[in-house]
Structures are given as C-alpha cells and as structure tokens.
C-alpha cells in the first residue's frame, strides 16, 4: 500500500502547553514533498500498524469526535482547513508533557483507492539536535542545529481513511513506539490523550486470548519441562507487569523459545497476533488459576500461580538435573476423592 496522490499538506511547530498562534501553515504540494512523504509512509509501515477506534460520542447522530470531525473536514475540505489544523495543533500542545521538546505536527491529505474516500495522515516529528557540516573558504564548519527528525523513535503517526459519512474514519492505524512504555503518561500520550482513541483489541479480549493461548501451549508441551518452565515464567512475569501493553507476538518473542512459542502462537488466529492490549491481572489470574504438579510418588499438588516461588508458598528447586517441590503449610480442608 502506498500513501496515494498528495492533495494537500500542512505543517505547524508545536511546543508543550503552547497557546495560539502556532508557526506554520499550508505547504505547497510539489513532487519533492509527495516523494518525501511517500518514502516516510513506506518506511514507517503504518499501513500494518496496530489499529485504534476513536471514542466517539455514542449518542450523537454524527458520531461526533474532536479528531475524527476535524480529520473528515480537512480531508474533504468542507470547512476552513487552517482553523481546523490549528485546532489540532492546540490539542497536541495541550496533550504534550512539559518535558517534551517542540514537535512538528504534519498533516497530509491523499487520494484513497476508493473514489469516495480520502486518506489523512497525521504525524508528529520531535525536534532533535543534529550536526551540519559545511565547507566555507576551504575550511570545514560544524554547526549544531535543531531539526525535526522524521526517523526518530519518538515520532508518532495516525492513518485515517474513509468516506465523508457516518462510517468514515471511525478507526485509524497508529504508529507509536512508546505505546508499550511502562510509564502510562508516556504510553497514553498519543493514542489516549491526543487521538482520544482505544486500541481495537480491548484489554478483556486480549487477556482472554493470552490466557487461552498459554493454557493451550501448556497442554501441548506436556513432557517438555523446558518449554513448560518457559510458559510458567511468562505467566509469572505477565502477572507482575503493570500497565504495559503486550501483543501475543511480543509475549512469544520475549519469553518463549520455538518449542513453547509454536503451540502458543498456533492457539490464536494470525490476525490476532499483533493487536496490543494491557493484561488485566484479576481476569488473568482467574483464567490461568492453577499450576498442577504430579510428583514421582504419585502425589498431585495444585497450586495457585500467586503462591509459587514466593515466601511461604510452593518452592521449586533444581538438584542434579531433577526438579523438586517443597511446601509447608497448614491444612485447612481435606477431601476424599476417587482417582478419576
């Protein structure tokens, strides 16, 4: 997918909490600009980036939303565009953290494959210091400049596409390498604060999917102690993480080798592997619940994950190549059961 023919473009410099006026305006559409934006679009791979849905007013007949409304009006040129773009610049300034450096807010409108639709790209490129080497009178001169870096890891983008009606531009593809940051104010700045959107995979759905995939992988790796230990480590680590966004792919990459990753990834549809979500701990614990150990003497120990490898809980140690389980706790209840 390419960006599509450039129709119009706007750029503004925005500093945190800055009030209007903003420096910038509409940029002339030239082949060089089209080419530069096209390459930035291609390299960013935003067309395959995670998807978000705008948190629209569900009672409004037009599905009103500040960013979506502005995007539709800018893309289809139905209202004075500069006022709308400056409105988005003000929104960005408000969402930016005081510690942030100024950013370049860029917006470009492109043709979409469907004639009735338009494509709108929103970018923020952070200001960074760069060197500029020049030759003057045969002598090199090195200057330190402030420039907006289009390859920065701190850049953000949103790709909206659709017709100018109730179904248009309800969702966006979002590029934000900080959305998985543990600091929520950093992670939420672009998607939650500025775009006022939610990841398309809800935390509930993601947590259920993750638990189901882990359980399926655990069952399928029966007899493979290494793979099962990796899965247990992943479960333990995910239970301790707070606020970080994960995808099924990221869990596999971070915690699992091939033997555990293959059944884990095989338990979800390929379309579901990249979607990001936050693990809901209570739900995750409820869905994962217990780890079951069968010991060499026939004793079966079923332990809640919360009680494994914590003081006073079940302790697993490795001695001479065998894994051993230790537990010392008061019996509160016992049942006589058939061995089913």
């Amino acid at each position: 997918m390419t960006a599509g023919r450039l129709i119009s473009a706007f750029a503004y410099e925005v500093a945190p909490k800055q009030a209007a006026p903003y420096q910038g305006g509409e940029i002339s559409v030239t082949p060089a600009l089209q080419d530069a934006l096209g390459r930035t679009f291609d390299r960013s791979k935003i067309a395959d980036a995670p998807a978000v849905t705008f948190t629209v007013d569900m009672g409004s007949p037009t599905r009103s939303h500040p960013v979506r409304d502005a995007a539709l009006a800018i893309a289809f040129d139905t209202s004075p565009q500069l006022a709308l773009v400056e409105g988005l610049a003000a929104r960005l300034a408000d969402a930016m953290d005081n510690r942030s450096k100024p950013s370049l807010l860029m917006m470009s409108v492109h043709e979409a494959p469907t004639a009735s639709a338009r494509r709108l790209l929103l970018w923020t490129f952070p200001q960074q210091e760069v060197f500029n080497l020049t030759m003057r009178g045969g002598h090199p001169s090195l200057e330190l400049l402030d420039a907006f870096n289009r390859e920065s890891n701190l850049r953000k983008a949103a790709l909206l596409e659709g017709p100018n009606d109730r179904t248009g531009m309800l969702s966006a593809r979002v590029l934000d390498l900080q959305s998985t940051a543990t600091d929520r104010s950093v992670a939420d700045f672009w998607i939650v604060e500025f775009l006022e959107a939610q990841m398309q995979m809800s935390d509930v759905e993601g947590t259920q999917l993750l638990a189901r995939a882990l359980r399926a992988a655990y069952t399928k790796t029966k007899g493979d102690d290494v793979a099962q230990e990796e899965l247990s480590t992943a479960i333990g680590a995910l239970r301790r993480q707070t606020g970080q966004r994960w995808s099924i792919d990221e869990v596999a990459t971070r915690f699992l080798s091939d033997a555990a990753a293959t059944p884990f990834l095989g338990a979800v549809r390929s379309e579901e592997r990249h979607a990001a979500f936050v693990v809901e701990h209570d739900r995750f614990d409820h869905l994962i619940q217990y780890r079951r150990f069968t010991l060499s003497n026939g004793v079966v120990v079923s332990a809640p994950f919360a009680e494994i490898d914590v003081p006073g809980g079940v302790t697993i140690t490795e001695q001479s190549g065998t894994r051993r389980l230790q537990l010392d706790a008061e019996i509160q209840e016992e049942q006589v059961r058939t061995r089913a």
């Binding site: 849905t53 179904t167 309800l170 969702s171 809800s202 509930v204 759905e205 259920q208 379309e271 979607a275």
Partner: protein
C-alpha cells in the same frame, strides 16, 4: 436502475462468505465477552439475506450501500430479565468498540411497541477474515441488539405480520395489545426475579 441493482446483488453475494466468517468470529467473541453472565437465553449472529439487503439498498440515503448498511452482519443477545440488559451492556462495551447506542422504545408513553437496545460496533482489524482487505467497500461496522425474551417474543412475529400490506385497524389494535401484554409480562417477570434473587435454587 436494473443494471446497477444486478451489479450490487452480484457484489453482495460474492462477499457473503467473508461476511459469514466474520459473523462466526463475532458470535465466538460475544460468547467470550459474556462468559459467566447468567440468564442469557441465546447469542447469535447472521449475515443479512440478499433480498433484505437489496430492499434496504434501495433507500436513496445509501449512496454506497456496501459500506454504509451497518447490519450486513448483525447479532442478538437475548436475556431472561430486563435487569440483565445492563449487565450485558457493561460486558459488551468493555469488549467491543462502540460508535452508537440507541435504546429503541415507543416515543409516546401511552404507546406499546418495539423495544430493544441497538449498538453499532466497529469491526476490529483482527476479526477480519483472510481476503477481506483485498475487497473494496467492505463494511466497517456491525450491529448488535440486546433484548429480553418478551421483547423478542413480540418483535419477531410482529415483524412478519406488521409489515404486511393492508394491516387493518383491528389487527393493529391486536398487535398493540400483544405488545402491551409482553411489556407487562416482561416487567412482572423481572420483579419476580428480583424478589427471588439471592435465594438458593434446588
């Protein structure tokens, strides 16, 4: 425009397999979203039948019916009691990304008729079956209705009868009476459920 209609019919029929796959995924997701919720009579999703789609597409307000008609894939959750509707709303909206919610009921307090919750949800990228992206003008939203057994008991048969031509006054009165009876039964059943809530069942 007979030619345009024929083309639209062909295009809609060609995408039905993709819509059916989406309907199956959504049904599975809805069941997952409502796991552990009591008093659910049934959950189902369907793809709009071609004749019904073509009739709706004939409305001039739809300039791009393949995208703009939002109930091409639609689902329904039917609960036992009225109070369960709020529980279902909470679960569903924490799972799906909604863009519209309307509580449908007669405007006039002295009227009895159709009652149901209608939601419009965005089709998440990760629910779209393989091949979806290769098609143009695919729908971006789906509809979900939430209602009680008694709301449904009135709505479905009356949809069949009430939309027929030449419904005379006495038939209309009878339908209104059935709606009022269903409304009364629905409220009374909810009261009984409230009264016995928390009591152990044998």
């Amino acid at each position: 425009m007979p030619n345009a209609d024929a083309t639209l019919r062909v295009e809609f029929n060609a995408r039905r397999p993709l819509l059916q796959q989406l309907a199956a995924t959504l049904e599975e997701k809805t069941r997952e979203a409502l796991e552990g919720v009591s008093h659910i009579d049934r959950i189902g999703f369907r793809v709009k039948d071609t004749e019904s789609f073509m009739t709706k597409a004939g409305d001039p307000k739809y300039t791009s019916p393949l995208t703009q008609i939002e109930d091409q894939v639609a689902g329904r959750v039917i609960t036992f009691f009225r109070d369960d509707i709020q529980i279902v709303r909470d679960q569903i909206t924490s799972y799906f990304r909604g863009v519209e919610h309307e509580v449908k009921e007669p405007e006039n307090a002295t009227e009895f008729g159709y009652e149901s919750d209608h939601y419009i949800f965005v089709i998440a990228e990760h629910w779209k079956p393989e091949g979806w992206a290769e098609e143009s003008e695919m729908p971006v939203t789906v509809e979900l209705q939430i209602r009680t057994l008694f709301m449904h008991a009135w709505a479905e048969p009356q949809h069949d009868i009430g939309y027929k031509a030449n419904v005379d006054r006495i038939t209309q009165r009878e339908l209104a009476w059935i709606a009022a009876s269903a409304w009364g039964a629905d409220h009374k059943l909810n009261e009984l459920a409230d009264r016995f809530a928390g009591q152990d069942s044998d």
